[in-house]
Symmetry: C2
Subunit: 185 residues, 2 copies
């Protein structure tokens, strides 16, 4: 995470604009999740000129990706419970809980719709965290599955449920995914 | 599925407009997948008045859902190979192949971004097909897992990879998901 306070000094207008624009994106998505986000609407809500937003972010898609990158980075802590099962369970509970927040889902849905092909700013950090959890188990001397199969078996069902299905991705169910995954590995 | 042919008769302008508008949506998404789809742009491409599109579909989000519903319904055939494993493997290969099409992905990404919360027109038919495959195995006298666990273990990783990851969801890999799922069930 960038230390925003370090940028805010006399003339730290840039950081203030960024904060206002990011906040405006969140507010608009929360109010009208199925409406299309436009730069003029964001600028008007943030109280800045649309040209400022265009100059800095280029397009609504790039702005959404910037917001998603900063929202979905460093928000979930990688646990260290002493065991792979414990770490994965705690982490999956946290990610599942994050995905029950309607504002989180609205941002994720909007980012997928407007994001570049082949990847999404909303899960890049999740892959790194999962990698770190598996690596820690190896450094304990244990065996750990590869990250691809963990992504398939854990993040796959979790995000599918959050995005495509009306059934909630509960922390309990997420813990059961971990149990099945470790039993099968 | 609505029998569109029944609507096409002298004066079947309604069906023609629908076809032109659906085609325009597909073209625009293929050309500019990360641009926001607007009703004026669709109307202009389809050669109809924007008011016609607004009157019939209401919003870009509802139009996208209509296109996705008709695109993702009845496009994949439920196989009958004689065994649950064979049926699931063939069906998963077909769904995975469908997801390698950039136009399919563009429509799916756009629909998620603008769709109503809690569900997506792009997977409703997939759940029904999976249910039919499992039900057929039961009618053969076999045991079949419940549809929820099949959605978690099969559609979860498949759609996650298609939407969130840059790695391709190959038919081979999709077949291996079926093997692991049946081994664990």
């Amino acid at each position: 995470m960038v230390d925003v306070s370090a940028q805010v000094r006399p003339g730290g207008r840039s950081a203030k604009v960024r904060a206002a624009v990011h906040r405006a994106v969140g507010e608009l998505l929360a109010e009208e999740p199925s409406e299309t986000l436009t730069i003029p609407a964001v600028a008007s809500r943030a109280g800045v000129h649309a040209t400022t937003v265009y100059r800095r972010w280029g397009s609504a898609a790039q702005l959404l990706n910037d917001v998603a990158t900063s929202r979905f980075s460093g928000d979930v802590v990688v646990p260290d419970s002493g065991s792979l099962g414990g770490d994965l369970e705690r982490w999956m509970e946290d990610v599942a809980t994050d995905l029950t927040d309607p504002d989180t889902l609205a941002l994720m849905r909007a980012t997928i719709g407007s994001g570049p092909e082949g990847g999404c700013a909303c899960t890049a950090d999740r892959h790194e965290q999962l990698s770190a959890i598996l690596e820690r188990e190896r450094s304990r001397g244990g065996e750990a599955p590869d990250v691809e199969s963990a992504v398939d078996s854990l993040l796959g069902p979790l995000y599918y449920r959050a995005i495509f299905s009306a059934r909630p991705a509960s922390p309990d169910w997420a813990r059961r995914l971990v149990d099945s995954f470790l039993a099968a590995s």
